[in-house]
Amino acid sequence: MAQFVLSLHTAPTDHDCTQRLIKFTQACLDSGHTISAVFLYQAGVYHASQHLELASDELPVSRLWQELNAKSIPLLLCVTAAEKRGLDIENTGVFTVAGLAEFAMLAADADKWVQFK
């Protein structure tokens, strides 16, 4: 079985891309693979905001992340990318603040790194 890292590079307004990462993650788990991290980088860091307000007929972005968290997938975000984008790194919900080096080590150890953008 393989070990994956996934990175998300688009903001939470890109529902299409968000949904794709979520479904890929599910398919990885269903096939018995391991995901050592989902990493928010570039505009992806905005997914860790605790102030997303979406109408009930929109993709339930926050709930989808909570579901991944419940499956014990490490959800990380890049602190440097977050600080220069104005994300509140003290309140990141199910996401854990991490350095780029921390993710780079996971990526180097993984069998596959798939980017979502």
Partner: protein, 118 residues
């Protein structure tokens, strides 16, 4: 009353570009300006028939495009060349539009007080 033109060039699911184009067009209609909307490039794909974003769990905002008529937004222009690029004709679109060649698009632009690209 001002002549205001919204120009859209992004794909249907490319971030929120098309949805914010639609919002802006509807708002200017609501405050009774003479609003026009020009869809060019990938944006023309937002008018394509038989699309089902619900399959992806994404809100079907294409339905809102169909309500433009209710709000008396009649000046919806589509770039002729862009339709051709995607093998589309007026019959493949969910709403009735004015197909404009480049000369007609330049004329449209020249008649506006404000132009916004979204």
């Amino acid at each position: 009353m001002k002549n205001i033109l919204v120009i859209s060039q992004h794909g249907p699911f490319d971030d929120q570009h098309m949805r914010e184009s639609l919002d802006t067009t509807l708002i200017f209609a609501a405050i009774e300006q003479n609003i026009s909307w020009l869809l060019s490039g990938d944006a023309v794909l937002a008018l394509k028939k038989h699309q089902k974003p619900e399959v992806l769990g994404i809100k079907n905002y294409f339905k809102t495009i169909k309500t433009l008529e209710l709000y008396d937004v009649e000046n919806i222009y589509v770039c002729e060349k862009s339709l051709m690029d995607f093998n589309l004709t007026k019959d493949n679109l969910i709403i009735d539009v004015k197909v404009a060649n480049f000369e007609q698009q330049r004329l449209l632009i020249s008649q506006q007080h404000q132009v916004v690209t979204l």
